[in-house]
């Protein structure tokens, strides 16, 4: 029985941990997106320039 | 035709560099023999045990030495942007892959020419009368090894921590090659070993052909700027 419960609990914990980490990253990204308003970075020109700088 | 000329040019360039700089081949061959020697110490002088696992030990030695050789595949191009210069020439970039592949294959086969007799002596492998089939299996295994290795050496070229990344990526993919080469060699050399050779040879050929096609085809993707 110990093996059985270890397996189920481990699966639940792993899933919950993965989902929780993902959700907190999503919240974080959404918050930062809101904080920095859509600006010049969204225009195609600036974006392609940005790409070329990085490459 | 033009691809083969380019392949030959790349290969000849590397041979010249290797010969003129009194390159690393000797050290590599010595290292390979040393690995086999160390194995004998680690496992002990048990006659039958050594003979039974000889093929496996031999291929572990080849794998380690091979990883050393693969890591150096594009060494001469790394200095002063040589790879970029090579890519500036018009024509087929796949020739770079083919040239480097033949180079790695040749180096590893030369190492094996030294390694097999050493293993035969140290591990009491009986090669008499079986040299040709054993060499054939060694060639097929080394070809698969070189195809995957030459390909991934190019992929890890600009990666951080590439000394670790090359074996990390290459070794799992090579499991079929190692299993095939070790099992077929063991079946030939050790009369006590069970199992046929033909199935493993077919597997090795299938692996070599599949990856030769896949890697040659996708190689230009790796070198895009």
């Amino acid at each position: 029985m110990a093996y059985l419960w270890a397996g189920y609990v481990l699966t639940w914990v792993a899933m919950a941990w993965f989902a929780w980490r993902l959700e907190s990253r999503a919240r974080d990204a959404a918050r930062r997106l809101k904080k920095s308003p859509r600006g010049e970075a969204e225009t195609p020109d600036a974006r392609s320039e940005n790409e070329s700088v990085r490459a | 035709m033009e691809v083969w000329l380019r392949t030959w040019a790349i290969l000849w360039k590397d041979i010249l560099i290797e010969v003129r700089t009194k390159g690393t081949f000797n050290a590599m061959a010595f290292f390979a023999a040393l690995i086999l020697f160390i194995f004998s110490f680690a496992i002990g002088p048990d006659f039958d045990l050594l003979r039974r696992i000889a093929a496996g030990l031999l291929w572990v030695g080849i794998t380690f030495t091979g990883l050393l050789a693969l890591a150096r595949t594009y060494h001469s191009e790394e200095l002063a942007g040589g790879l970029e210069a090579l890519l500036l020439y018009p024509g087929e970039p796949r020739a770079i892959f083919l040239g480097k592949l033949v180079g790695n294959l040749a180096v590893l086969l030369l190492v094996e020419v030294i390694l097999y007799p050493v293993a035969a002596v140290l591990f009491h492998m009986d090669l008499t009368g079986k040299i040709l089939p054993v060499a054939g299996i060694a060639f097929l295994g080394t070809l698969g090894f070189s195809v995957i290795g030459t390909f991934y050496a190019a992929l890890t070229l600009h990666l951080r921590a590439r000394e670790v990344m090359l074996p990390l990526l290459v070794l799992p993919l090579l499991v079929p090659v190692l299993l095939g080469a070790v099992s077929a060699t063991a079946a030939l050399v050790d009369p006590a070993a069970a199992g046929g050779v033909a199935g493993w040879v077919r597997l090795l050929i299938a692996f070599d052909v599949l990856y030769f096609v896949v890697c040659t085809w996708t190689f230009p993707v790796l070198l895009e700027r």
Partner: protein, 228 residues
């Protein structure tokens, strides 16, 4: 360049998926643990199968999606395919690790050992290493375009290896022991298994959608910060 802001159509999906996934997982676990009768031969430990088999199925599904997305990326060079591939690979590694651990927990009381060189077990372990390598390539490549290109190649070459690995490991082992045959199952067990497969697939769908949304948002942020 494709517009990378989160498309509004996807916004609500993940909530519904998350709800369905949690609901089916809870129901599936309760039925698997308490409702279905235990296996006549293996006893209660056999109930691990209701998690082990769905996890294994999802691992393979996830890596198949990585392969398809990698091919699509190399053809169309659309960064969205790369984001889906990355998310799928990460979830796939999670499920593969779970599959191996659950298999070990099952194997210990039944076979008496944590690990055997069973072909399926060995192939799954090699699969895990291949895709850990995939994730390592992603984390070691700084430039997004190169990261996408290189990892796509790793995803394709790695996936092509899976059938050969399975074949070779099966031959290797068949010299020593016959492969275990799949047992016939009672209908109630089959239904429980199916329910859990659905639950895990919903969970996978939710995680993948969410991963994709996060990747899109983080990419937009990255681009913005690079402008400053």
């Amino acid at each position: 360049m494709t517009e990378l802001t989160a498309s509004p159509r996807l916004k609500g999906w993940h909530r519904l998926l998350a709800f369905l996934a949690v609901a089916t997982t809870v129901v599936g676990s309760i039925i698997g643990l308490f409702v279905v009768p235990p296996d006549a031969m293996q006893g209660n430990v056999q109930r691990l199968m209701y998690l082990h088999v769905p996890a294994a199925w999802l691992a393979f599904l996830a890596f198949f999606i990585v392969f398809v997305m990698a091919v699509l990326y190399l053809i169309q060079r659309d960064p969205r395919w790369d984001m889906i591939a990355a998310g799928s690979a990460e979830i796939g590694v999670l499920f593969t690790a779970l599959t191996l651990i659950l298999g070990s927990l099952w194997g210990k009381p039944i076979w008496g050992v944590w690990w055997t060189w069973d072909p399926r077990l060995t192939t799954t372990a090699i699969l895990l290493v291949i895709y850990v390598g995939y994730l390592a390539v992603r984390s070691f490549a700084a430039d997004p375009e190169r990261r996408a290109r290189w990892s796509a190649v790793v995803g394709i070459v790695g996936f092509a290896d899976v059938p050969i690995v399975y074949l070779s490991v099966t031959w290797w082992r068949s010299l020593h022991q016959p492969p275990s045959s799949p047992m016939s199952m009672a209908p109630s067990m089959l239904w429980t298994l199916m329910l859990n497969v659905v639950a895990f697939t919903l969970l996978f769908g939710y995680l993948l959608v969410r991963k994709y949304q996060v990747a899109v948002a983080e990419r937009a942020l990255e681009d913005r910060e690079a402008m400053r």
